[in-house]
C-alpha cells in the first residue's frame, strides 16, 4: 500500500518529525532508570564474577580539588541499570557476525516497539511468565507484531522503588516476571522481532534458571542475533503499538552491552 511518506521527500519526512516534536504532536518519553548507587544490580551466586554496581565519586565541586568546576568519576558494569544486551553477551550468540555493541548495525537502534501489558497478572504473581496466549491476545486487539520490532513486557515492576522489592529475593532465589521459553521461540521464529525488553532486572524471569533451557530469553534471542533491554520504566506511558524506540548503547570495543538512555517517540494523547 502506498503511504503518504512514500510521496514525501526524506527532507520533508525528517522536517515533519522535527516540527511535530516542537509542537508536541510527537513526544519523547524517557524509559530509563536514573543511574545511582542505590539502584540494585544483578546478583549472581558469590562464586561467580559479579557485575559492578553503579558507583560515583566527586573529582571536585568548586572546591580545593578544582575551584571552578564540578565533575565526577564513576564506575559500573556493562549490565548496570537500564541497559542493552548484545548477542555476544550469551554463549548462544558468541559466534554471530556484528554481535557486539560496537558492530551492531546502527539502524537497529531506532525501531518500533510493541508493549504487551501483563501488569494485572504480575500483581498477583511476581513469577508470571508471558505466554504465547498473551501474545495472541495482544495481536487480536493491536494487530500482528511487525518484523524488526521490539517486544516490551509491561509489568509495572519499575514502580517498585524499594530495592529489596525490586530484586524480590527469598531463600529460593529471585522472583521477577519474564517470558516463557515457548513465547521467546515464537517471537524469534514466527515474528522475527528485534529484541525483548523488560522492566525487571533481567529479560528472563527471576526463576529463569529453572526453565528449559535455562534463561530462554537470553538463549534464544541472542542465539538468533537479537537484543535485550532491561530495567525499563514508564512502559505504562507508551501506546500498545506505534511507539518508536531509540536505544543506542555505548560504542564499547567488543562490548556485551552497556547502560544507555532509552527513549520512545510517541504521538500526543488524543
Amino acid at each position: 500500500m502506498t503511504t503518504t511518506t512514500e510521496l514525501m521527500s526524506t527532507a520533508e519526512i525528517l522536517g515533519g518529525l522535527v516540527s511535530a516534536m516542537s509542537t508536541g504532536r510527537i513526544r519523547v518519553i524517557d524509559l530509563t532508570q536514573t543511574l545511582t548507587p542505590d539502584f540494585p544490580q544483578i546478583a549472581l551466586p558469590p562464586e561467580m564474577g559479579q557485575c559492578w554496581p553503579f558507583r560515583i565519586e566527586e573529582v571536585s565541586k568548586y572546591d580545593e580539588r578544582g575551584p571552578g568546576w564540578y565533575w565526577n568519576n564513576f564506575s559500573c558494569g556493562e549490565h548496570t541499570g537500564t541497559h542493552f544486551d548484545a548477542p555476544i553477551h550469551w554463549i548462544s550468540g558468541r559466534d554471530l557476525p556484528n554481535n557486539s555493541v560496537d558492530t551492531i548495525p546502527v539502524q537497529h537502534f531506532v525501531a518500533p516497539a510493541c508493549v504487551i501489558d501483563c501488569s494485572p497478572q504480575v500483581k498477583d504473581d511476581p513469577d508470571y511468565l508471558l505466554t504465547i496466549e498473551d501474545i495472541e491476545q495482544y495481536e487480536s486487539i493491536h494487530g500482528r507484531i511487525p518484523k524488526g520490532a521490539w517486544v516490551l513486557m509491561r509489568t509495572d515492576w519499575s514502580k517498585r522503588q524499594d530495592p529489596e522489592a525490586y530484586q524480590n529475593f527469598d531463600e529460593t532465589g529471585q522472583h521477577t516476571p519474564g517470558p516463557s521459553a515457548e513465547a521467546v521461540r515464537f517471537l524469534v521464529e514466527h515474528r522475527d522481532v528485534l529484541g525483548f525488553g523488560s522492566e525487571a532486572i533481567g529479560t528472563d524471569a527471576g526463576q529463569g534458571y529453572h526453565l528449559r533451557p535455562p534463561y530462554p530469553c537470553h538463549y534464544y534471542m541472542h542465539g538468533a542475533g537479537r537484543y535485550g533491554l532491561q530495567c525499563l520504566s514508564n512502559l505504562d506511558l507508551l501506546p500498545p503499538a506505534g511507539a518508536v524506540l531509540i536505544c543506542p548503547p555505548l560504542k564499547i570495543e567488543k562490548g556485551s552491552g552497556s547502560p544507555l538512555r532509552v527513549l520512545a517517540l510517541i504521538g500526543a494523547q488524543p
Partner: protein, 417 residues
C-alpha cells in the same frame, strides 16, 4: 569499693563539648618498649641478661653491671606500696581537668621502684599491690597499681576508664551485621552494656539469615551501610556520626584466590574495595566526629576497631589477594592510629587466624568461632590494648613471624599453615 558507673544524664546541647588535652606523650625510644608490650596487654621491663637486674626507668645499660644486654621480659608486677598521694593541683592540662588523681610509689618485688597511677581500691601504704601497664589516652604506656583482689566494678574506676574503651553505656557502630561474626559482635556488645548498637548492612535484597534475630534486640538499630558506596558512608555519618562512640569495622570480602587461580582483577578489586577502601571511606567520614567527642564525659567517643587478619603480616598464598588487601588495610590502620592519636582515640587492630566461616571451609581446624572473636573484641575494648592476635593460629603465626619473617614466608609458600 569502686562506685559502679551510672548511665550519665543526657548532655546539655548548648554547652561546648570538652575537647581532649592529651597527657604527656613524650617517651624516649628505649622507654617505648613498655608501650610496645602494653599495646598487646603485657607489662614488661628490661632484665639484664648477664646479672639478672630488672631495670626501671628503661635505659641503655644495666645500672648494676653495665651490660648492654637488656631484654624485655614480662613482669608479675607484684610489689609493695611504699607511699601514695592524691594530686589536688597540676600544671598539666589533662590531669588538671581530672583532679583529684591518685598516685603511688611501688617497690616491685623484682627490684625497682615505680611511680604509678593508683587504682581507687588500693589501700594506704604499706600494702601489697600488683602493677600492670596500660595505654593512656596519648597511646603511651603508664604503670598502674592494682589491688590484688578487685571488686566486681573495679573496671569503673575513674582513672582506669581513662585508659580503656569499655563499651558500657556507649553507642557503637558495627559495620556489617550480615555475617555470623557481625552478629556475634552485636550480641557481645549488648551483653557488655552498650546503649545503642547501630548495625550496618549492604545489599538488603541479599538475605543471609540471622539479621532478624539481632534486629529484635532493643539496643539494635539496622542502618544501611555499603562501604563500597561513598555516598552511603557519608549519609550514615551525617545521620549518626556525631553520636558514635566506638566504630567496629568488621565488614570484609574474603575470597580464596592467589594470583593464578583466578583470572582477572575483579575479585581482588572487590576485596580491596571493602577491606582497604572501605576502611578509607569509613575513616574519612566517621573520623572527624569521633575525634571531636573523645573527652565528652564519661561515655565519650573512645575507640576504632579494625578486623584485619593474621594474613596481613605475612601473605597466605592460597588466599593471596585477600592477604594483600588485609596488609593494605593494616598499613592504613597504622595511618589511622597516628591521625586519631591527637584526639586520644584508641585504634584496635585484630589479627585473627582463619575464622570458622564458609570462606575458610577447606582450612583445617583450629578455626576461630564467631563468638570467640566477638569476645576478644569486647575484651580488647575493656583492656584498652591496641593489637590483638586471637586464637591459636594467630598466636603461633605471630610467634613465627617475630622470630623470623623470612622463614614464615617460606613455610607459608610451601603450603604449611
Amino acid at each position: 569499693m569502686t562506685m559502679p558507673l551510672m548511665r550519665p544524664k543526657r548532655k546539655n546541647p548548648v554547652l561546648r563539648t570538652r575537647q581532649m588535652n592529651l597527657p604527656p606523650w613524650a617517651r624516649g625510644r628505649v622507654a617505648l618498649g613498655i608501650t610496645a608490650a602494653a599495646a598487646e596487654g603485657r607489662f614488661e621491663l628490661q632484665t639484664c641478661e648477664d646479672c639478672g637486674t630488672v631495670q626501671y626507668p628503661p635505659r641503655e645499660a644495666c645500672h648494676k653491671c653495665l651490660s648492654p644486654r637488656l631484654h624485655w621480659r614480662e613482669q608479675s608486677g607484684e610489689g609493695e606500696l611504699l607511699s601514695s598521694t592524691t594530686l589536688y593541683h597540676s600544671n598539666d592540662l589533662f590531669f588538671r581537668e581530672r583532679l583529684p588523681w591518685r598516685l603511688g610509689l611501688v617497690h616491685l618485688d623484682a627490684g625497682p621502684t615505680l611511680m604509678v597511677h593508683l587504682h581507687g581500691e588500693v589501700g594506704d601504704a604499706p600494702t601489697r599491690v600488683r602493677v600492670g601497664a596500660r595505654l593512656d589516652r596519648a597511646g603511651q604506656a603508664v604503670l598502674i597499681g592494682f589491688p590484688n583482689e578487685g571488686s566486681p566494678h573495679m573496671a569503673d574506676d575513674k582513672m582506669l576508664r581513662e585508659m580503656t574503651s569499655d563499651p558500657k553505656f556507649r553507642k557503637v557502630l558495627v559495620t556489617d551485621g550480615k555475617t555470623e561474626v557481625g552478629q556475634a559482635i552485636v550480641r557481645a556488645l549488648v551483653k557488655a552494656g552498650a546503649d545503642i548498637v547501630w548495625v550496618g548492612h549492604a545489599e538488603p535484597w541479599k538475605k543471609m539469615g540471622g539479621l532478624d534475630d539481632i534486629t529484635a534486640l532493643p539496643q539494635v538499630t539496622l542502618v544501611p551501610l555499603d562501604l563500597t558506596n561513598g555516598r552511603s558512608v557519608s549519609e550514615l555519618a551525617g545521620e549518626i556520626g556525631g553520636k558514635v562512640d566506638i566504630v567496629i569495622n568488621n565488614a570484609e570480602v574474603h575470597r580464596s584466590f592467589g594470583i593464578g587461580a583466578r583470572r582477572g582483577t575483579d575479585v581482588a578489586k572487590a576485596e580491596m574495595d571493602i577491606n582497604y577502601f572501605g576502611l578509607l571511606r569509613l575513616a574519612q567520614e566517621f573520623g572527624p566526629a569521633l575525634k571531636g567527642r573523645s573527652a565528652d564525659g564519661v561515655t565519650g567517643s573512645t575507640a576504632w576497631v579494625n578486623l584485619l587478619s593474621i594474613y596481613a603480616l605475612s601473605n597466605f598464598p592460597p588466599h593471596g589477594t585477600f592477604s594483600a588487601s588485609k596488609a593494605a588495610a593494616h598499613s592504613l590502620a597504622q595511618c589511622l592510629r597516628a591521625e586519631m592519636r591527637p584526639a586520644g582515640i584508641r585504634v584496635i587492630n585484630l589479627f585473627p587466624g582463619p575464622i570458622d566461616d564458609e570462606w575458610n571451609q577447606h582450612t583445617p581446624p583450629p578455626k576461630l568461632g564467631a563468638s570467640t572473636l566477638a569476645n576478644a573484641i569486647v575484651k580488647a575494648l575493656r583492656d584498652g590494648v591496641e593489637d590483638v592476635y586471637p586464637g591459636d593460629v594467630a598466636q603461633e603465626w605471630l610467634e613465627r613471624w617475630r622470630d623470623n619473617p623470612k622463614i614464615l614466608e617460606r613455610e607459608l609458600a610451601a603450603g604449611g599453615g
